[in-house]
Symmetry: C2
Subunit: 249 residues, 2 copies
DNA sequence: CCTGAAACATGACAAATGTCATGTTTTAAA
DNA sequence: TTTAAAACATGACATTTGTCATGTTTCAGG
């Protein structure tokens, strides 16, 4: 679980994000929030959004940074991380394309990010100033309702996660994680479900609140029992039903 | 942690909630969501809301029930609980006057409550049909923004809780709980801060994901160290700064 | 003011998980 | 292709927390 000595001050590769550009249409059609808007609102909103690319070792923003923008994941995945004074860190959520973040108006009251957002591999993110975001929500009740719906889902998800952390053993938590990732980002293959996200044992450990060693040991057991195979970039779920059993045992 | 053999089917006292009545003004002025509305909107909304009282042993709704209403706590506290197949349960949040619940539109897509809401002592709750709630949000962008802000706060809170559950030891989690309760519902007194909520060791255990025995032992240690005193109904925080130290150690 | 139930308490032991040390394999960059 | 870093792996042991058993205290309702 101990990942880095001073997580918040280390930034391995100091390359700056690529130059922002005005968001072109394209993968943009899978974003519910944007699809809800009228044609002209949508045009206007897109003009207000800029697209930025991030890569390994960079940060989109960090715990404690002031909140200035509303974000949408366009491509790739982004992890939301919090860290404790002791240097341990936990991953709260993996955001995928279409996911909104910093959509909570609360975060904008001259306040600071409660956690860090970092890219998992190459990602592309759309962002919009606080003001433009609020204007959009005021103009379009549909957009506001969509955000409420989205936040409600996120809240339920977060509470479900808290429940799992509070009540389940390490192996059950890990099984839950694999099941939900398989369902959210799994690509069916001949011998199972391949996860679209690259996920090391340490990543998994941070997501379910155990040490890396524990995650490794449990994954070894799952592998022996033919529930999963592969590591990191090539993680394969071979027996989803049985993993579900373990998760809810 | 094992509270009841079959939590979802036991209902000790079958007394039905007292008759709903149209919400009179009064304590209603502390509810931000209602204060934001224009005078006539407020009138209309209040006409659509009914007030219901609940007492010990009753449920406001239960895990799995269909979602039909939007709720606001008017008086007393309400706990949000989830339970696992094994019969263990965890308390996700204690709602206080002014808190909204089931404000997530998601819960309204013909869907079911992800958890149980039960009164802690005598409570009074305002509620409103799904339709009236959505009408209000559509009519008033301010109300929608208020709900977005509220949900954002709840989300941050839930994620902070998940972080604590994932990374901290039992004593730190308990200390965090006491600190946040002291700050949210504490009444200053000569010898410390009295908690306004009645809270047994079992309640605390359910809130931080440990067994009742563990909560008892840790509280005994806290008592010995003069950090707290009293039990259940008369819980007193005697050394908030030191509890904060423990929580963030 | 009883009295039974709930809440609090404590010990002994078991189980789960963390910690540290060390070594192998895989991956990705030069 | 080489090579250093990251990821994976495993054992020995410490620590934390859970489990079960049992007893005392407190409290709310009759």
């Amino acid at each position: 679980m101990e990942s880095e000595r001073a997580p918040l001050s280390k930034q391995p590769k100091k390359s700056s994000p690529s130059r922002p550009e005005t968001a072109p249409p394209g993968t943009l059609n899978q974003i519910p929030l944007l699809n809800i808007l009228s044609a002209q609102d949508r045009e206007q909103v897109l003009r207000e959004m800029t697209e930025t690319h991030y890569g390994k070792g960079q940060y989109i923003f960090r715990e404690g940074d002031p909140t200035e923008y509303f974000h949408i994941v366009k491509e790739g995945s982004v992890k939301c991380v919090k860290s404790s004074p002791g240097g341990k860190e936990c991953t709260l959520k993996v955001l995928m394309p279409g996911d909104l973040f910093c959509c909570d108006a609360a975060a904008f009251d001259g306040s600071y990010h409660p956690g860090t957002a970092q890219p998992m591999g190459q990602v592309s993110v759309l962002r919009m100033s606080k003001k433009a975001y609020f204007d959009m929500l005021r103009r379009s009740p549909d957009a506001a309702l969509e955000v409420i719906k989205y936040l409600g889902n996120r809240l339920n998800e977060a509470q479900e996660k808290a429940k799992v952390l509070a009540l389940d053993r390490a192996d059950q938590r890990l099984a839950s994680l694999l099941v939900s990732l398989a369902e959210r980002s799994g690509v069916p293959e001949s011998s199972g479900i391949r996860l679209a996200v690259r996920l090391t044992r340490q990543d998994m450990a941070n997501m379910v609140g155990v040490t890396t060693e524990t995650a490794i040991r449990i994954m070894a057991r799952f592998k022996k029992d033919r529930l999963v195979s592969g590591t990191a970039a090539r993680l394969l779920i071979r027996d989803l039903p049985r993993l579900k059993m373990i998760a809810t045992a």
